[in-house]
C-alpha cells in the first residue's frame, strides 16, 4: 500500500460557456454501429429549485451494453464488448432544459457481494452555478429487478422514484432531474 502524497485538484464549475469546448463525437448518441439490444431514447428536463428549466446544464452518462458488460479492463466478466455501442454519452440541455440520449437498454451488472444491479445509467450533472458535478443514476420502471437493486436499496423508499425513468413510449423513457426542492432527485456522495 502506498501512502497518499498528492492532494486532489479541486473541482470548479463548467461555467456557462462550455458548449464550444466540449465537443464529442456521437455526443448524445451512444449507438455507433450495429448495436445489440433494444434501442431506446432516454429524455427529460433539468429543473432548478425555483421550478425553472435549466438551459445551461450538461449531462454525461456511462453504462453497460445490452449484455451487462462495461467496455473497461476492470470488467472481467466473460461477456463480449459490443463494437456497435459506446458506453459514454454527453448531452447539453436546450433552452427548455431538455436532454435526450439515444442508446440501448443496458443489461444488469454485478453489484457488491453476490448482488446484481438492475439496468441503470450512471449520470453526472454539470452546470453553471454548480461548483462540482452531481452524481445520480437513471433506472427503468419496467425492470422487475429494481426491487432488489443494492443501490436503490440505500435510498429512502419515498425518494426512490426520483431515480426511475417512466416508460412513455415503446422505446422511450423519461426522467426529470430536479436539482433542488419538490421531488428533488437523489444525488450520491461518492
Amino acid at each position: 500500500m502506498s501512502k497518499q502524497r498528492f492532494g486532489q485538484t479541486p473541482s470548479q464549475t463548467v461555467g456557462p460557456f462550455f458548449h464550444f469546448g466540449l465537443p464529442y463525437e456521437n455526443d448524445n448518441n451512444l449507438i455507433v454501429g450495429d448495436a445489440q439490444g433494444q434501442r431506446i431514447v432516454v429524455e427529460g428536463r433539468v429543473i432548478d429549485g425555483q421550478g425553472e428549466p435549466v438551459p445551461d446544464c450538461m449531462l454525461e452518462i456511462w453504462q453497460a451494453n445490452a449484455a451487462g458488460k462495461y467496455d473497461h479492463p476492470e470488467d472481467t466478466q466473460d461477456k463480449s464488448v459490443d463494437r456497435g455501442f459506446h458506453g459514454f454519452g454527453r448531452c447539453s440541455t436546450d433552452k427548455d432544459g431538455i436532454f435526450r440520449f439515444h442508446t440501448v437498454k443496458p443489461g444488469a451488472v454485478p453489484g457488491p457481494g453476490n448482488t446484481l444491479q438492475a439496468p441503470h445509467l450512471v449520470t453526472f450533472v454539470f452546470g453553471r452555478g454548480m461548483l462540482k458535478q452531481l452524481l445520480t443514476r437513471i433506472y427503468f420502471e419496467d425492470e422487475a429487478h429494481n426491487v432488489n437493486d443494492p443501490v436503490l436499496g440505500l435510498v429512502p423508499n419515498a425518494r426512490r422514484s426520483t431515480l426511475i425513468a417512466g416508460k412513455t413510449g415503446p422505446a422511450t423513457y423519461k426522467l426529470d432531474i430536479v436539482l433542488q426542492g419538490n421531488g428533488e432527485t437523489v444525488f450520491f456522495d461518492y
Binding site: G7, Q8, P10, Q12, F20, L22, H72, H120, G127
Partner: protein
C-alpha cells in the same frame, strides 16, 4: 466476479460545497436533501477509457486553428495528470476551453463587449502520454466581467475537463495564473474551503518550458483520486 477496489472518497477540504452563497447561482442549483453515500461498484470504477474519438495534433495548438495568428501572449501549458499516490494517469483525454486575450468567449451567449478574435476559437483536446504528460499551446486568456455581484471579474483561467481511469475520476476544473489580483474577489476560486488546496489550481511559471523568442511556459499538474491498491497488485 470479485468485488471492485474502491477509489478514495472526496477530499472534503479540497472540494467545494454545492451551496456557496457568495456564488449566487448556486442558490437554486444545490441539492437540499442529504446526499446518499454510495459505495463504489463496477459501474463507478469503470468508465470511458477507449474511443475518445480521433484527437489530432492541431487540437493541442489553439494558435494554429485558423488562417492567421491569434492576438495575445502566446503560452505553452503543460503538466502531468497523476493520482493521489503519484501514479501517472496515461492515455486519458484532457479537454480545454477558454476566452481570447481580450476576455471574450466565442460562445453565442457571451455578451461581454470585448472583441472577438477571428483567429481564435479557444477549444482544444489532447491525450496524455505514457507518463501522464500533456501539453497545449495557446494564448493567455483575459479576465472578464460577470454579473455575480457589482464589478465582478473572473481571474484569467483555462477550463479543464479530465476523465481518468474510471468514471469516479471525472474532473472539471479551472487553471489559473500565478499572482492574479482577482483571486481575493472571486467566489468560484474562493469556493474551495482549504486555502492551500485553492493553490493547486494555480499554474506556475516555468522557465524550462518557456520557448525562446516564442512563448512563456506554465506548468499545471492535475491530481485525480487514487485508490489503496490496484487490480494488478491484488
Amino acid at each position: 466476479m470479485a468485488d471492485v477496489i474502491p477509489y478514495n472518497r472526496e477530499e472534503k477540504s479540497a472540494q467545494p460545497p454545492s451551496l456557496y452563497m457568495p456564488y449566487k447561482s448556486t442558490e437554486f442549483r444545490a441539492p437540499k436533501q442529504p446526499l446518499v453515500i454510495l459505495p463504489h461498484t463496477l459501474s463507478e470504477v469503470t468508465g470511458p477509457v477507449y474511443g475518445h474519438g480521433r484527437v489530432l495534433p492541431i487540437d493541442a495548438d489553439l494558435t494554429k486553428q485558423h488562417a492567421g495568428e491569434p492576438l495575445g501572449e502566446r503560452i505553452v501549458v503543460s503538466g502531468k495528470v497523476l493520482d493521489e499516490n503519484g501514479r501517472p494517469v496515461s492515455n486519458t483525454l484532457v479537454e480545454v476551453w477558454q476566452c481570447n486575450a481580450a476576455g471574450r468567449y466565442i460562445h453565442a451567449r457571451d455578451q461581454h463587449p470585448a472583441p472577438l478574435d477571428p483567429n481564435f476559437s479557444g477549444a482544444g483536446r489532447v491525450v496524455t502520454d505514457a507518463e501522464g504528460n500533456y501539453k497545449f499551446t495557446t494564448i493567455k486568456p483575459g479576465a472578464y466581467p460577470w454579473r455575480n455581484h457589482p464589478n465582478a471579474w473572473r481571474p484569467a483561467h483555462i477550463h479543464f475537463s479530465l476523465f481518468g481511469p474510471s468514471f469516479i475520476n471525472r474532473l472539471v476544473t479551472q487553471m489559473y495564473f500565478p499572482g492574479d489580483p482577482l483571486f481575493a474577489f472571486d467566489p468560484i476560486y474562493q469556493g474551495i474551503p482549504d486555502v492551500k488546496a485553492r493553490e493547486r489550481m494555480v499554474s506556475r511559471f516555468d522557465m524550462d518550458t518557456t520557448v525562446p523568442e516564442w512563448a512563456l511556459g506554465y506548468k499545471f499538474d492535475i491530481v485525480l483520486r487514487g485508490r489503496n491498491a490496484t487490480p494488478m497488485e491484488d
